[in-house]
C-alpha cells in the first residue's frame, strides 16, 4: 500500500505537467492554423490522404451492402414506381423528339457560323471515397488528387449539374466542397433574364440566391447556370432551377443528384485570360487638330498603330 501511495504522489505532478503540455500544444496548433491556414490545411489534406485509404477495404463493402438494403426497401413500392416510370417514359418520348429536332437545328446553325466551341473543358472522373462526417460541413472526398493533376478550385459536376469546387488536394485524394456547404459562394447567372447573382450555401439542401439586382425579373422555374465571373468557374454549367422557399427567399433546386454522389467529374479549369488593357484613349492625330480633315490621309501611320477604329 505504501508503495502505491508513493507511486501516486510521484505520478500526479508528472501527469499534470503532461496535460498542461498537451493543452499548450493544442492551443499552438489552433493558433498556427488561424495564422497560417494554408500550411495546416495542406497537412490536413496529407493526413486524410494517408488515413482514409486505410479504411477503403471496409468502406466499399459496407457502402455496397447499405445501398443494397436501400434497394430492397424500394421493392416495396415497385408497382407505383412502374406506373411512374411509364408516365415519365411517355413524356420523355416527346422530349426526345424535341431534342432531335433541336440537335439538327443546332448542328445546322453551328455549321453556318463556324463557331469555335471551347475545347479546353476536359475532365477527370473520380469516385466518392468518403463523406465529410461532420453535420456542419458539406463535402465529399474523391479518389483523384495531385497524381491526376487535380488543382484547387476546379469545378466538379456529376452527370447533370454542378456539384461543387475542389478545396484541398492530397496526393491521391481531393476534397470537394459542395454547393450546399455554408462556406460555398459561387457566381451564377439566371436565365433567360441574364441576371447575375451569388449562390451561397447555408447547410440546407437548397442554397440561397444572394445579391440579385432586380428580383422582379426572375421567377421560380428559371434556369440557373454558373457564371464565369471572377474566373472561378467555367461559364454556362447547369446548376439548377430557381425556387422560392416558404420564407419568400429565392433558392436553387440543384440539378445534381445530391442523394447519390457516386462518380464526379472534375472539370479541368484553365485560368481565364484577363483583359488587362483598358483600351487606351485614341487621340486625334496632332495635325488633325490644327488643320482640316482634308489632311487625314497623311496621318495614316498613326492610324495603323491603332487599328481598333475610332469613334
Amino acid at each position: 500500500m505504501a508503495r502505491d501511495r508513493d507511486d501516486i504522489d510521484f505520478a500526479r505532478p508528472v501527469r499534470r505537467i503532461l496535460v498542461a503540455l498537451m493543452a499548450i500544444v493544442l492551443a499552438l496548433t489552433f493558433l498556427v492554423w488561424r495564422i497560417d491556414s494554408p500550411r495546416v490545411e495542406r497537412f490536413r489534406a496529407a493526413f486524410i490522404d494517408r488515413f482514409v485509404p486505410t479504411f477503403d477495404w471496409a468502406m466499399v463493402p459496407v457502402t455496397k451492402v447499405l445501398g443494397m438494403v436501400e434497394g430492397f426497401q424500394s421493392y416495396a413500392r415497385v408497382y407505383e414506381q412502374n406506373q411512374e416510370l411509364r408516365r415519365e417514359l411517355q413524356q420523355m418520348k416527346a422530349w426526345k423528339e424535341a431534342a432531335v429536332q433541336l440537335e439538327q437545328q443546332n448542328a445546322k446553325l453551328l455549321a453556318q457560323n463556324a463557331v469555335r466551341l471551347d475545347p479546353k473543358l476536359t475532365s477527370v472522373s473520380g469516385v466518392v471515397l468518403a463523406d465529410s462526417g461532420s453535420p456542419f460541413r458539406k463535402s465529399v472526398l474523391l479518389n483523384v488528387g495531385l497524381r491526376d493533376g487535380v488543382v484547387d478550385g476546379w469545378a466538379t459536376m456529376d452527370g447533370l449539374g454542378l456539384v461543387g469546387r475542389i478545396s484541398g488536394v492530397g496526393q491521391t485524394t481531393a476534397r470537394v466542397v459542395l454547393l450546399t456547404d455554408a462556406s460555398s459562394r459561387v457566381p451564377v447567372k439566371i436565365e433567360p433574364s441574364g441576371q447575375r447573382a451569388l449562390l451561397s450555401g447555408d447547410n440546407s439542401a437548397l442554397p440561397l440566391i444572394e445579391f440579385l439586382e432586380s428580383p422582379e425579373q426572375v421567377r421560380p422555374g428559371d434556369r440557373v447556370v454558373s457564371a464565369g465571373d471572377g474566373g472561378v468557374f467555367p461559364a454556362g454549367i447547369l446548376v439548377g432551377q430557381l425556387a422560392q422557399g416558404s420564407d419568400q427567399r429565392l433558392r436553387v433546386l440543384l440539378a445534381a443528384d445530391y442523394e447519390r454522389l457516386d462518380f464526379l467529374r472534375v472539370l479541368r479549369g484553365h485560368p481565364i485570360e484577363q483583359l488587362q488593357d483598358v483600351g487606351a484613349l485614341i487621340p486625334p492625330p496632332p495635325e488633325a487638330s490644327t488643320e482640316e480633315d482634308s489632311e487625314a490621309p497623311q496621318s495614316t501611320p498613326s492610324a495603323l498603330q491603332r487599328p481598333s477604329g475610332d469613334g
Binding site: F51, G67, F136, L261
Partner: protein, 179 residues
C-alpha cells in the same frame, strides 16, 4: 505474465479507441453525402464522458486528445480547438470524479449537460473572437441536444455490453486498492 488488472485496463483502453474509430468510420461512409440531415449526436464525446465518470483510468487524457485531434482533422474542424476544449472538460470532470460518485443518474446527466453546454459555448466564443466562420447557432444547439439525449443510451449500452458502472463510494478492486 500480465496481471489481470493491467490487462483489463489496456483492454478497455483499446476498446475505447476501437469504438471511436468505428464511429468515425460510420460517419465517413458516403451514404447521404449532400443530403442535409439533422446534426446527429456525437457518440464519441458522449462515450468519453460516460466512461470518464465510471472508470476514469480507461480513458486517459492522451487517448482522448488523440481521438479528438483525429476527428478535428477528419471533420474539417479547426484543428486543435475542440480537442483542447474536450481536454479541459474531461480534466474538470476527472478531478471531480470521486465526489460525483454518489450522485443520482439524473444529477449526473445534468452535470454532463451543463459541462457540454459550456464546452460548446466556449468553442463558439473562441471562434467568433478569432473571426472564424462557424455553423449557425441553431445547428450547434441541435447537435448539443442530440449529444445530450444520446448520453443515457451510451451509458446503458456501456453497462449492458461491457458491464461498466460507477464505483460505489469506498469500493476496492481485487487487489484492495481504492478505485
Amino acid at each position: 505474465m500480465v496481471d489481470p488488472i493491467s490487462r483489463q485496463l489496456w483492454l478497455h483502453r483499446a476498446l475505447y479507441l476501437a469504438i471511436a474509430m468505428v464511429v468515425l468510420f460510420l460517419r465517413l461512409l458516403p451514404l447521404s453525402s449532400g443530403a442535409s440531415g439533422w446534426p446527429g449526436p456525437d457518440i464519441t464525446l458522449a462515450l468519453t464522458l460516460a466512461w470518464l465518470l465510471r472508470r476514469p483510468e480507461f480513458v486517459p487524457a492522451v487517448l482522448v486528445v488523440a481521438v479528438m485531434l483525429i476527428e478535428d482533422l477528419m471533420f474539417q474542424r479547426p484543428p486543435g480547438l475542440w480537442a483542447l476544449i474536450v481536454l479541459g472538460g474531461t480534466e474538470f470532470l476527472r478531478a471531480r470524479e470521486v465526489s460525483l460518485r454518489d450522485l443520482s443518474f439524473m444529477l449526473e446527466w445534468i452535470t454532463v449537460g451543463v459541462l457540454l453546454l459550456v464546452m460548446v459555448l466556449a468553442d463558439r466564443l473562441v471562434l467568433s473572437l478569432l473571426m472564424v466562420p462557424q455553423p449557425p447557432l441553431g445547428l450547434t444547439l441541435l447537435y448539443y441536444l442530440a449529444t445530450l439525449a444520446a448520453y443515457p443510451l451510451v451509458v446503458i449500452a456501456s453497462y449492458a455490453a461491457f458491464g461498466l458502472r460507477r464505483a460505489a463510494p469506498g469500493e476496492v478492486d481485487a487487489f484492495g486498492r481504492r478505485l
